[in-house]
C-alpha cells in the first residue's frame, strides 16, 4: 500500500497544497521533501496522522498553541463565512484499488470577526472533525460507512509510530538498555500480540467447554440396561397376561357350556328345589312339634281354668243380687261412728246446718249412730265381696280370651303346616321326573368354572396393572434415556469443540513461538546487516545482537559491549537499522514517512547511510522529510537512483501568518 497524494487545505501553514507520489515499484520507492527547519516538514506527518486518526502526533511545542487552520485564511472572510480545514490522503492498495480518506474541520467567522469552530456533532473525534472515506470497489468509488474501522485495518493506530516517525527520536529505543520497548515494538508490528490474545481467548473457550463437558455425564448405557430389564419383565408379564386371559376365557366358556347343559334340563336349579324341599321338611317337622306342644299346653290350661269358668254364672248372679239389695236400700249405708259422734258433738251437719241437741235432726243423726254400729260390718263385707266378685268375673273372662287366643295360634300353625306341605308337594311333583344327580353335577361344574373364572379375572386385573406399571416405567426410562442421548450428543459435540480448541491452540502456540523466534532472529540479522552497512566506523563495531529478552547489544571490536557508549548519531543509525528490519520483517505493507532521518548524523557519514538506505527499505514507499543540511548533494547523489520525485517546501512568513508551498524540483 502506498500514498498516491496528500492534499491540504487551510491546514497549518498549507493553504492549498497537493503533493503527489509515485508507485514504489521498479526501485524508485523514495520521495524526498526538502525544507528548512520550521518550514512544515513535520506538519506533513501531522497532516497524515490527523487525517487518519484525528490526532497530530508529532506536533512541536511551538505548534501546539496554534490553531489548526491557516491563520491567513480568515483574512478575506466576511462575518458568517465558512472556513474549512481539510486534509485528504489517497492510498493505493497492493491490488491497485484506491482509498481516499478525508478529514475536515469547519470554522466560521462570527460577527466580531472571530474564528469559531463549527463542530460536527456526529463526529467521534475529540476535535469534532468530520472523517469521510471513499474506497474503490471494482471501477467505482464508494463511500465507506465506518472509516475509522477500515483505517485501523490499514495502519493500526498502535503501530503507526513505526511507519510515521521522527528520525531524531528513534534513538530513544536504545537510550536505556531495556528490551521492553523493543519487544513491544516487535510484538506489535509482527502481530504476535494478536496471536497472544488468540491463545488467551482460546484457553478461555477451552475452559468453558471443559466446564460444560464436565456438567454432562452420559448414562445412556446404564439407563438402556434398565430399559432392557424392564422390557424383559414386560414381555413376561404380557405373556402371562395373555395366557391368563386365555385360561379365564376357557373357564368362562366351560361355565357357559355347563350352564347350557343345565338350561336344557326340565327343571332349572334342581339343587335349589331340593334344598327348599329339605328346608320345608325340616320346618314342617319343627312346626308340628310346636303345634303338639301348644295343644298340650291348651289342654293343661283348660284343665286348670275350667272350674273358674264354670263359676261365672254364680258370680254374675251374686253381683246382681248385691246390686239389687243395695239399690233397694236393703243394705244399710256404711257410717263411720267416730264421724257421726263428731257431728253430734259439734251440733253441725256436714251441710253446715245447725243440729241442736234434742232437736229432731239431732235425734235422727243420733239414731244413725245407734243403727250403724250393728250393720256397719255387714255392709262393708257385702260391698267388699261384690268387688272381689267383679275381679273374679274379670279373671274368668280373661281365661276365656286366653283360650280363644291359643286356639287361634294353633289354627295358624296348622295352616302353615298345610301350606308348607302343599309347597313340598309341588316341589316333589316338579323334580320327581328329573335326573337330579346329573343336574347337580352340571351345576357343580358351572360353579367350579365360575369360581375359576373369577379367580383368573382377578389375576388378569392384577397382571394388567403390573403390565401398565411396567410399561409406564419403560416410557419414563426411555424419556430419561432420550434426555441422556441428547446430553451425549452435546457431550460429543463438546468433545469435538474441545479437540478443535486444542488443535487451534497447539497451532497458535507453535506459531507464536516460531514467529517470535523467526522475527527476533531476522530482525537481529537485518539490524546487524543494516547497522554494519551504514555505520561509518567500519572497524569499531563487529556485531549487533538482539537477545531473547530483546535487549540489543552492539559489540565493540574489543569484544566489549558498547551500546551505552554509542554517540547520538550512532544510536540513530542503530535505530534506523532496527526500524528498517522491523518493517521488513513485520510483513506489514504500509508506507514509511521519516522526518529528519539523518538529523543527528554528521556530514561525512550521511553519504554512507544514504547509500545504504535503499537496501534497508526496498520495495516499500519511503517519504523522507529532510533539511538542506541532511539532503546534501552527496546524499542526493547517493539516493538518486531510488528517488522518483523531489520536492522543496517554500515557506513564506507574513505578519499574520505563514504559507508553505510544496514545489516539485525541476
Amino acid at each position: 500500500m502506498w500514498i498516491e497524494h496528500i492534499k491540504m487545505k487551510n491546514y497549518r501553514q498549507y493553504q492549498d497544497e497537493k503533493v503527489v507520489f509515485d508507485s514504489p515499484k521498479e526501485g524508485k520507492n523514495f520521495t524526498v521533501i526538502q525544507g528548512d527547519n520550521g518550514s512544515g516538514k513535520t506538519n506533513l506527518i501531522n497532516a497524515v496522522t490527523w487525517c487518519l486518526y484525528g490526532n497530530e502526533r508529532h506536533l512541536t511545542a511551538k505548534n501546539k498553541g496554534l490553531a489548526i487552520y491557516n491563520t491567513l485564511a480568515p483574512k478575506d472572510l466576511k462575518p458568517g463565512d465558512k472556513l474549512e480545514v481539510c486534509v485528504e490522503v489517497q492510498f493505493r492498495e497492493s491490488d491497485g484499488g484506491r482509498i481516499i480518506i478525508n478529514r475536515s474541520l469547519d470554522y466560521k467567522l462570527d460577527d466580531n470577526k472571530k474564528v469559531v469552530l463549527v463542530p460536527d456533532l456526529r463526529s467521534i473525534s475529540d476535535d469534532h472533525s468530520t472523517l469521510e472515506m471513499m474506497r474503490q470497489i471494482g471501477k467505482d468509488m464508494k463511500e465507506v460507512k465506518d472509516p475509522e474501522f477500515i483505517i485501523q485495518k490499514l495502519i493500526p493506530e498502535k503501530i503507526e509510530e513505526y511507519f510515521l516517525f521522527d528520525g531524531e527520536r528513534l534513538d530513544e529505543y536504545f537510550k536505556e538498555k531495556s528490551g521492553v520497548k523493543i519487544a513491544e515494538a516487535v510484538f506489535k508490528i509482527s502481530q504476535i500480540d494478536l496471536l497472544e490474545r488468540t491463545i488467551d481467548h482460546l484457553k478461555a473457550m477451552k475452559q468453558d467447554f471443559v466446564r460444560d463437558r464436565n456438567d454432562l455425564s452420559p448414562r445412556v448405557e446404564e439407563i438402556q440396561g434398565k430399559i432392557d430389564a424392564l422390557t424383559k419383565t414386560f414381555t413376561e408379564l404380557d405373556n402371562r397376561l395373555k395366557k391368563t386371559v386365555g385360561q379365564r376365557d376357557e373357564a368362562e366358556r366351560l361355565e357357559l357350556e355347563a350352564r347350557g347343559r343345565i338350561s336344557q334340563a326340565p327343571v332349572q336349579n334342581i339343587g335349589k328345589y331340593e334344598d327348599e324341599r329339605g328346608e320345608l321338611e325340616s320346618e314342617i317337622g319343627k312346626t308340628k312339634t310346636e303345634l303338639d306342644e301348644m295343644k298340650r299346653e291348651r289342654v293343661e290350661y283348660l284343665a286348670t281354668s275350667a272350674p273358674i269358668v264354670f263359676t261365672i254364672p254364680c258370680i254374675r248372679q251374686s253381683i246382681e243380687l248385691i246390686g239389687q239389695s243395695e239399690a233397694a236400700g236393703r243394705i244399710p249405708p256404711e257410717y263411720e261412728p267416730g264421724f257421726v259422734k263428731k257431728l253430734l258433738k259439734n251440733e253441725t251437719c256436714i251441710c253446715g246446718r245447725e243440729i241442736t241437741k234434742n232437736s229432731p235432726e239431732y235425734d235422727k243423726v243420733r239414731g244413725l249412730l245407734t243403727r250403724a254400729s250393728p250393720i256397719g260390718g255387714l255392709t262393708k263385707r257385702l260391698v267388699g265381696n261384690a268387688g272381689s266378685l267383679e275381679v273374679s268375673l274379670q279373671k274368668a273372662r280373661d281365661l276365656t280370651e286366653s283360650v280363644t287366643k291359643q286356639n287361634g295360634r294353633i289354627q295358624n300353625l296348622e295352616k302353615r303346616i298345610e301350606s308348607m306341605e302343599k309347597r313340598k308337594g309341588t316341589i316333589d311333583a316338579l323334580i320327581s321326573g328329573c335326573d337330579s344327580e346329573m343336574i347337580k353335577q352340571y351345576e357343580a361344574e358351572a360353579q367350579e368354572y365360575h369360581q375359576k373364572k373369577m379367580q383368573l379375572s382377578e389375576e388378569v386385573g392384577k397382571l394388567k396393572l403390573m403390565v401398565k406399571s411396567t410399561e409406564s416405567r419403560i416410557t419414563e426410562m426411555e424419556k430419561e434415556r432420550n434426555k441422556e442421548l441428547r446430553n451425549q450428543t452435546k457431550y460429543q459435540e463438546l468433545v469435538s469443540l474441545l479437540d478443535f480448541c486444542q488443535d487451534a491452540l497447539t497451532v497458535a502456540i507453535a506459531a507464536k513461538a516460531k514467529v517470535m523466534e523467526d522475527v527476533r532472529r531476522e530482525i537481529e540479522e537485518q539490524t546487524r546487516e543494516h547497522f554494519l552497512n551504514m555505520i561509518w566506523k567500519e572497524k569499531t563495531y563487529t556485531n549487533v545482537e538482539i537477545g531473547e529478552d530483546y535487549n540489543v547489544s552492539v559489540k565493540h571490536v574489543s569484544g566489549c559491549e558498547s551500546i551505552g557508549t554509542l554517540s547520538a548519531g550512532e544510536r540513530q543509525v542503530l535505530a534506523l537499522s532496527f526500524v528498517a528490519a522491523l518493517n521488513n520483517v513485520s510483513g506489514f505493507d504500509a508506507p514509511l514517512i521519516i522526518d529528519t532521518p539523518l538529523g543527528r548524523i554528521s556530514s561525512e557519514p550521511r553519504t554512507k547511510i544514504a547509500k545504504a538506505l535503499p537496501s534497508c527499505f526496498s520495495e516499500r514507499q519511503v517519504i523522507l522529510l529532510m533539511t538542506d543540511e541532511e539532503y546534501t548533494p552527496t546524499v542526493r547523489d547517493a539516493l538518486k537512483d531510488h528517488v522518483s520525485r523531489e520536492y522543496s517546501i517554500r515557506f513564506t512568513e507574513y505578519e499574520d501568518g505563514s504559507d508553505a508551498k510544496v514545489i516539485e524540483n525541476a
Binding site: Q152, K153, P156, L202, D212, T489, E493, F500, A504, G587
Partner: protein
C-alpha cells in the same frame, strides 16, 4: 472476514503450513482478524463470536 492483507503474512504462512486441518487454519485466520478488529476497541463479548466461529468450523450446530 478481515482482509488478510492487513495480517502479518509470516503468521498467515505459518498457519497455512501447519500440520492442522483446513478448518483449524481458517479458524485461526478468522481469530487473528477478529483480534485485529478488536485491537482498537475492547470486546468483552469475544466468547460469543469465538464460540460461533468454532462451532461453524466444527460443523456443530451448537449445544450451549
Amino acid at each position: 472476514m478481515v482482509n488478510s492483507g492487513t495480517l502479518n503474512r509470516r503468521i498467515l504462512d505459518y498457519i497455512e503450513q501447519a500440520d492442522a486441518s483446513k478448518e483449524v487454519q481458517d479458524f485461526l485466520k478468522w481469530a487473528l482478524g477478529f483480534e485485529l478488529e478488536q485491537a482498537w476497541e475492547s470486546n468483552p463479548q469475544f466468547r460469543k463470536d469465538y464460540e460461533r466461529s468454532i462451532k461453524a468450523s466444527t460443523g456443530k450446530s451448537g449445544s450451549r
